[in-house]
Subunit: 217 residues, 4 copies
Amino acid sequence: MTDFRLNEPCAVPRRRDPASTRRKLLVAARREFSRNGLAGARVDEIAAQAGVNKQLVYHYFGDKDAIYFAVLEWMYDEIVQHERAFNVDGLDPDQALRKLIQSSFDYLEQHPDFVAILNDENRNDAAHVRNLTHFADIRTPLLRIFSRTLSQGVRDGLFRKGVSPEQLYISITALSYFYFSGMPTLSAILGKDLKSKSALRARRKHVVDFVMQSLRP
Amino acid sequence: MTDFRLNEPCAVPRRRDPASTRRKLLVAARREFSRNGLAGARVDEIAAQAGVNKQLVYHYFGDKDAIYFAVLEWMYDEIVQHERAFNVDGLDPDQALRKLIQSSFDYLEQHPDFVAILNDENRNDAAHVRNLTHFADIRTPLLRIFSRTLSQGVRDGLFRKGVSPEQLYISITALSYFYFSGMPTLSAILGKDLKSKSALRARRKHVVDFVMQSLRP
Amino acid sequence: MTDFRLNEPCAVPRRRDPASTRRKLLVAARREFSRNGLAGARVDEIAAQAGVNKQLVYHYFGDKDAIYFAVLEWMYDEIVQHERAFNVDGLDPDQALRKLIQSSFDYLEQHPDFVAILNDENRNDAAHVRNLTHFADIRTPLLRIFSRTLSQGVRDGLFRKGVSPEQLYISITALSYFYFSGMPTLSAILGKDLKSKSALRARRKHVVDFVMQSLRP
Amino acid sequence: MTDFRLNEPCAVPRRRDPASTRRKLLVAARREFSRNGLAGARVDEIAAQAGVNKQLVYHYFGDKDAIYFAVLEWMYDEIVQHERAFNVDGLDPDQALRKLIQSSFDYLEQHPDFVAILNDENRNDAAHVRNLTHFADIRTPLLRIFSRTLSQGVRDGLFRKGVSPEQLYISITALSYFYFSGMPTLSAILGKDLKSKSALRARRKHVVDFVMQSLRP
DNA sequence: AATGAATGAGTTTTCATTCAT
DNA sequence: TATGAATGAAAACTCATTCAT
């Protein structure tokens, strides 16, 4: 707003920075969509939060749906990147699985907007997510790790037989995801604050234990 | 259009049936809110689906928020009633817990609109649910059953020690709830239809097994 | 605006008069569309001119295109009615044709908005007019009269042979229509006011003479 | 994107061709205005069709109205040039008039965008056309030819007396102009394709005959 | 001369809500 | 109790125009 460097007129930073504008819009949109859902989100609010003219939403993305879609793509890219970075090489199945569970928990804790937006998508029958190019590819790396870890654990006598890797994948996700996604209602029902440091620590431990105990031979 | 019985102008049957009208509005509203969320739902659509005039929404409920709240109360009553009817007397802890898990799964399967609406509530920080009178009471009966069953199972040497009944309650709910709530996205990720008869049966079995195995001493 | 009959509370006229509202909207729309074309017309302006809330345009018609279409239908009905009322029975071909020409001239003079809207339609390739139900029916009565009058005049030795009734229909319309439709430009080119009483009288006479002279045997 | 010839930065050929750019914009604008009218035309579309940046419309012309005006001037110049090239010297009045009528018909057939834009101008009360410098001059040459031809024909006993050259000018124009301007609606009414080769030939002949017959003594 | 980002005012359309009967 | 007209505020989206490079 105020320019503090009087002697460097050409160094005035960030006037006309399309990449930055686009990014600011996406950040604001992600926030707005996660708070209010697709239907409840306001284009005006997105622009205001991004600190730019409303028309730029249309200039960069086309319409409300399109920027929503761009947010989904962004979230998707983040996850793919996160999972690509994930590495359990050298760990025994027990350690690998613990790490997987914790990683899943931590990711959801750190990305509450992801949880919120995904819930809205699911209510809407994943209408947009379906159209993400190669969306299904998301499963390959993670499921492969699950499968390999599980079968190796079974072979090593660490895990019991008969557990489907897909069901296990759903269950591990469920145990963390629902905690965050259902937190407001759960807090009301249980009458306690579930997002306190200690509550989070307790839940994280419970999830790991719950799964590992279930897999005992 | 034209009434052919001239002598009984008031005998025209079923025009004016307040109770029925109210019920039809609630049914339509539940459907509309579950499909589109609070923000996305349309008062026009609710009235149209109920087959009555839009003004009656305001006549019976006050405003959009109020009918949404009425839907929440209705859902809440249903659950309370369902849980009140729930009975594990005479069952040993193992059987009781299995029944609890299955019951939870079945209830969610049969009430997809409940799942959808609750998700929207959670995104909105449970703003309305909080205001349900005695909402917290919902926990008492169910948690008491959990606690009793769990501690008795531990005492009987059927279940391992150290599992918090609250965490167990969350986990059991999570394993079923997330399956339904995340179904559209999960289907896309896993590339299979999760709402088929066989998929539902498999998941139900997995959830019961997963929990029971985890509780082994 | 002001109610002058104080003693008849139930006679207070025109609060809630849907038919009147719809009519007022149509009148305002016809005016607005004729002045500014479909693209240039403003829904706001239509509502303001009708003295009602803008939303009523959508309530009664759907959208801007729909009220435009309704205006076209109205104009079409007017013409059909006008032509249906047209009667040359008992007149000899010469008199009948003169009457036809004058009637055509007079109708266009009295309906300048018709001319303006039709021009816009034509620029837009008659996109809407095409969809008027039975639009083609408009030709039947008028063309039939032309054909009959013409052939009878030929038979009676009043008119020369070899004139196509369709060409004649187009020409008679053209001679009047273009005068009104092109009036602003023509006035500028010729440097005189073409809509003055005397100019109109002169043109009307010219058109009749021009056609009748042309048909001489 | 990157220029690889470091020593001839300005030698990049044909980027920057002001005259060509201006021309391309005018061509695109004429097309756009004729299709959509002044109100319906889009500056974006004009630039896109011209294949240049939108800002150049403002650079070269000022604003939307100004480029519209430039199109009118262009059309006006074309007509003036066309009429200046027109020559009936050495022809007897009969032949001269036939040539005039045919020329008028042919010009309109070949310039449908002229017809479209003029219609829009007329709906708008010729607001822009009025301001064309020396616009009225357009009449001088053509009307003079009409007057001379007509009076000479009367003198020669070829044409009847009492026909106003101005009315004749309007009528001749009307008979051709309306055919093209009203073609979409007329086609719909008459149920036939009026722009086919044979239909055009028939109309052209009819117009010439119609006028010449009318002028018989 | 040329580009594309950025702006603000406007324009259509939607929607919850109230009014009159 | 029931209906449909009517309203005003707000929302999405458009568009001519200007700015910065």
